[in-house]
């Protein structure tokens, strides 16, 4: 996976980037933590958000989890349902 990964955006992250998905360059064997670092570099506007989590295939992911090219990846800003 020496290319890029598509990341779904919601809520404030979608508003700040103006996109509902972004493509982030990522090396093979990269982890969720690596992805977050890349996202923060590419989109400094997201720095003001209280917390950003990553979901992989619809599950909250730990920062050590390694990503593969088939994963559905989403950026999860602080939730506010209910």
């Amino acid at each position: 996976m020496n290319s890029s990964i598509s990341v779904l955006l919601f809520g404030i992250t979608r508003d700040l980037t103006g996109q509902s998905a972004v493509s982030v360059p990522l090396a093979e064997g990269a982890s969720v933590g690596d992805l977050l670092t890349q996202i923060h570099q590419k989109y400094p506007a997201l720095a003001g958000i209280r917390s950003l989590l990553i979901a992989v295939n619809g599950e909250y992911a730990e920062s050590e989890q390694v990503l593969t090219r088939h994963d559905e990846v989403a950026l999860i800003p602080p939730v506010s349902g209910g």
């Binding site: 779904l8 919601f10 809520g11 404030i12 979608r14 508003d15 003001g48 958000i49 209280r50 979901a55 619809g58 599950e59 909250y60 989403a74 999860i76 800003p77 602080p78 939730v79 506010s80 349902g81 209910g82």
Partner: protein, 136 residues
């Protein structure tokens, strides 16, 4: 029964679903759109969800609740899209043999939904808008 819907929440249908011959207690919680947040007048709310994950996270919460309390039936329905003041944003209903469990399970479900389910609410004021909980 778990649902994420753009349609108005049908409370009588939820009640019919919850009733059973063993149910002695039903607790319903309704989250409703208020006309203000910290005294700032709200015009409407816009709810957005990561649908697939919102449903699976709500299912996890229901599964934990079912392990913890003797739940006969439950229903969790969350709206998405644009909601006006007075609209029901979320309905939690829990039917149990006795009342303590109905209250406790219902409260657990709504408290946990607000912590873990990927649904986002934007408050649209008369003079601006803001994604709830997003900023420090």
């Amino acid at each position: 029964m778990i649902a994420l819907t753009s349609d108005p929440i049908d409370v009588p249908a939820a009640l019919r679903f919850l009733q059973s011959e063993q149910a002695g207690a039903i607790d319903f919680f309704l989250g409703v759109v208020r006309d203000n947040t910290q005294e700032r007048p709200v015009d409407r709310l816009e709810y957005e969800a990561y649908d697939r994950m919102a449903i699976s996270e709500m299912q996890k919460i229901a599964d934990v609740a079912q392990q913890q309390w003797p739940i006969l039936r439950y229903t969790i329905i969350h709206r998405k899209g644009t909601l006006q003041i007075g609209d029901i944003a979320v309905l939690i209903g829990v039917a149990t043999p006795h009342r303590a469990a109905a209250f406790e399970a219902c409260r657990y479900i709504i408290d946990t939904i607000k912590q873990t389910v990927p649904i986002w609410k934007k408050e649209v004021f008369t003079d601006g808008e803001s994604w709830v909980n997003a900023h420090p």
